[in-house]
Subunit: 177 residues, 2 copies
């Protein structure tokens, strides 16, 4: 059962730079892609910048529907994450092909991913940098976390299919959020 | 001794989402700040987007000089990284205060950081999103790597002084760069 996560805590999920899944729904079809080129841009309401290449099938869906879900996979999902990244939604239903389960979101048509430990429902907030950089500014309008997957370890892509997994956590006295 | 890193490999350093240091030089003074809100935007020449708040002393230096260095600290530098993040260059010379060593760069006035395992010399390529988001697009014009710190483990900030360190590395069959 997912729990609603305060929007002010979303940055804690994305700031560490995990590989994420991005889902869209367009013309009655859901799709999912992998994404590592993203950054936080504002705390609350949370703004997220991400780069979705025009070569991706999701690009058109994102531009037309102006909605998506960013879903965070734990490290155990790494093989599926790579399968999603290797395939195109042009050719197949990646949810079905790779055993991922789309779940209805609350505020957008794009689906949550049941296997992920967090889901961020997003609306496109700014497209002015899309023509030059394929860079979308998203606003997170609803966030979910799975209390059953506490302290999930995430994946970080180092290029060419090499991923570093989260290791130990340390705490230091920071005066920053 | 630093080795020049091909620009086409820069994304492998930043895509995993490490905490980085950003240095500037303005009016004869070098400064350094911590940064986690960054993303890759293009492979080669590498473009990097980053968000530097107007509250940071580095903001003015970056806007006026249009140059900076992104330096990558390994996990052992975590205490210094946090000290840098807790202080402002308005008040003190953070290099001297926290025992970091500025080194001349090749193509920009901002310094490299001798203790870091990689340094990316950057020029500001686009400031159109600065007024609204404090978002700078940087082009990496020269990259350096320290062969003496191979396979450095990096830091990822989870908010509030909690950092996750790089753990194990896995390789999967990806058809993506």
């Amino acid at each position: 059962m997912l729990r609603s996560l305060p929007l002010s805590e979303v940055y804690r999920l994305l700031e560490p730079g995990p590989v994420v899944l991005l889902t869209t729904a367009h013309r009655g079809r859901a799709n999912v892609m992998t994404l590592s080129w993203h950054l936080m841009m504002e705390f609350d309401p949370p703004l997220v910048g991400c780069l979705v290449s025009g070569a991706n099938h999701s690009f058109t869906a994102l531009r037309k529907t102006r909605e998506c879900v960013i879903a965070l996979p734990a490290a155990a999902l790494a093989p599926k994450v790579v399968q999603v990244g290797n395939a195109s939604g042009r050719d197949l239903d990646k949810f079905e092909a790779f055993g991922l389960t789309p779940k209805p979101a609350k505020r957008v048509a794009a689906p949550l991913v049941a296997e992920c430990f967090a889901d961020l429902e997003c609306r496109v907030a700014d497209t002015r940098f899309v023509p030059k950089y394929n860079f979308f500014v998203l606003e997170v309008v609803q966030a979910w976390i799975d209390p059953g997957q506490r302290r999930a370890k995430t994946l970080h892509h180092q290029g060419g299919g090499t991923f570093v997994l989260d290791g130990p956590t340390i705490r230091l006295r920071s005066n920053k959020p």
